[in-house]
């Protein structure tokens, strides 16, 4: 199975290598805009309990950006592959298991999320942010990338058109980008909304990254929640891969 995972990953790696320059440049646009608008612009007049607003939002920007990149690296290409290019059939008629396919795709999507996050961390330092980056921080980041790469796989195998994929982005990812403790702590929101937000995976990524970057704390609950989401999405993904033959 490891060889099959590597084969699926290898194809994605080949494509990424070919367009690594374009990938890096395009992924820098939105984090730079966030850093300028919320860090330099709006952030100068905001003070939060942890210190500067820039230090506060950088973990949030890393969380939301790694979510977007990991999701979009798997979601749209796989949906197109299933519905339009039909290249998914090449994997379906090959003697590889559904789990190997799912893990290979998810790892490749997570890798893209991680590469773009490294760029944002470098940019954040250039903007003058103070962050503690250690192994736990990287683990939280990797878990967040895996959550959204696996969620994208489920969405891609479920949505019946490219437009539906775009709608999934609009109704799921966009609200999470702003509400899941990325730009502000959701403590003052209505209780029901706060509870819903506490259940969403990006909230735990923001909490974990911020806690580690600020004071080195290890948020076990957030790690646990993200791990549960990964297992859930991978399980559903494997089931959908089997079901696609019916």
């Amino acid at each position: 199975m490891l060889y099959d995972i590597w084969t699926v990953f290898w194809r994605e790696w080949l494509v990424l290598q070919r367009r690594i320059g374009r990938f890096i440049l395009s992924r820098m646009v939105s984090p730079v805009l966030y850093l300028v608008a919320f860090g330099w612009g709006l952030g100068r007049s905001i003070q939060v309990s942890q210190g500067s607003y820039l230090d506060f939002i950088v973990p949030g920007i890393i969380a939301l950006n790694s979510m977007n990149i990991s999701f979009n690296s798997v979601g749209s290409p796989l949906n197109m592959s299933r519905l339009y290019h039909k290249t998914l059939e090449e994997y379906l008629i090959a003697p590889i298991g559904s789990l190997a396919f799912v893990i290979g795709k998810v790892l490749a999507g997570a890798l893209r999320g991680l590469i773009s996050s490294v760029l944002i961390i470098a940019l954040a330092y250039a903007f003058g942010a103070n962050l503690l980056i250690n192994g736990w921080f990287l683990l939280a980041l990797a878990l967040n990338c895996l959550v959204f790469a696996s969620m994208a796989l489920v969405a891609a195998m479920t949505m019946s058109s490219h437009e539906d994929m775009a709608n999934f982005n609009t109704y799921m990812l966009l609200p999470m980008s702003f509400l899941c403790a990325t730009f502000f702590v959701p403590d003052h929101l209505p209780v029901a909304l706060k509870w819903i937000i506490q259940l969403l995976p990006l909230t735990h990524a923001s909490y974990a990254l911020r806690a580690i970057a600020t004071n080195g704390a290890v948020p076990i609950l957030s790690f646990l929640m993200m791990s549960i989401y990964i297992l859930l999405f991978i399980g559903v993904g494997v089931w959908l891969m089997e079901k696609v033959r019916e």
Binding site: H85, K86, E90, P95
Partner: protein, 279 residues
């Protein structure tokens, strides 16, 4: 090599294939014929395990579908109707991905990719992105890909649809070469002349049902070896004759423009289904 017994496929209430039974021998080129929507592609999709049969037993090279999926995957090669090459990869990389997915050892894989690219006359385009390929080149590369892991059975779903006549004939030559190498080929087509030129036996499907199964020659002979065609006010008329002299005598009695020719598979199809094959 391929045994299909009482196979049916239903999509909700629509029956795509209705109680089909077929036996295809080793080394045979077998054609599934019929107009669009007859159930040809559904049959291929079930035989290649891209969808499951509703009922029926299907075995390929002794392995039964539904029981031994990996065994069948190792012995089949598939060229689908649509171009499903990975457009983000080169020709070589498409084959390399296929070889890796079929667990071919590195050295054997590389040698076989080089051989097959030469076989389908694409060696000089090995490192080009397939997005730049013409339809005929894509189809040839898909055949090379399907053959890479040395399957025993090749499924070709409408292999020449949308290709110009020269490219079509080159592909026919390629398919004949595969047969000479002992491969069993199941192809679907709605081009009657393609089936007539390539297949030893054909099955004609109409609205999911098998309406005829025999060699093209026998299907034609059932009508009569010669056909006379003539124009009437309400359209083209055809009459079949076993004997050329009798056909000629009949033609001489007609006052409009007439054609006397050999009966072909399309005549058999029209007589059996009551309609011309349309794309």
């Amino acid at each position: 090599m391929i045994h299909v017994e009482n196979f049916s496929k239903k999509f909700d209430q629509r029956i795509a294939v209705d109680n089909l039974s077929l036996h295809i021998g080793k080394g045979e080129i077998f054609g599934l014929l019929g107009p669009n929507g007859a159930g040809k592609t559904t049959t291929i999709r079930v035989l290649t395990m891209l969808t499951q049969p509703t009922v029926g037993t299907i075995t390929i090279d002794g392995c039964e579908i539904g029981h031994n999926r990996q065994c069948i995957k190792a012995v089949i090669g598939v060229v689908p109707q649509h171009f499903n090459l990975d457009i983000e990869l080169t020709a070589w990389e498409n084959l390399e991905l296929h070889g890796r997915l079929h667990h071919m050892p590195s050295e054997i894989r590389k040698q076989r990719i080089a051989d097959l690219l030469e076989y389908v006359e694409l060696s000089d385009r090995a490192n080009d992105m397939v997005q730049k390929f013409s339809g005929g080149m894509k189809r040839r590369l898909m055949i090379a890909r399907a053959l890479l892991h040395q399957p025993k059975v090749l499924f070709l779903d409408e292999p020449t649809v949308g290709l110009d006549p020269q490219v079509r004939r080159r592909l026919w030559e390629l398919i004949r070469r595969l047969k000479s190498e002992g491969l069993t080929v199941l192809l679907t087509t709605h081009y009657i002349e393609e089936a007539e030129s390539l297949c030893q036996r054909v099955a004609i499907l109409e609205q999911g049902k098998l309406i005829a199964l025999d060699t093209p020659a026998v299907l034609c002979e059932r009508l009569g070896a010669y056909a006379v065609e003539w124009d009437e006010e309400d359209g083209l008329k055809t009459k079949f004759f076993a004997d050329r002299m009798v056909a000629s005598e009949f033609a001489s009695t007609l006052t409009t423009t007439t054609t006397l020719r050999r009966t072909n598979l399309e005549d058999a199809f029209v007589e059996l289904t009551g309609r011309k094959v349309v794309g």
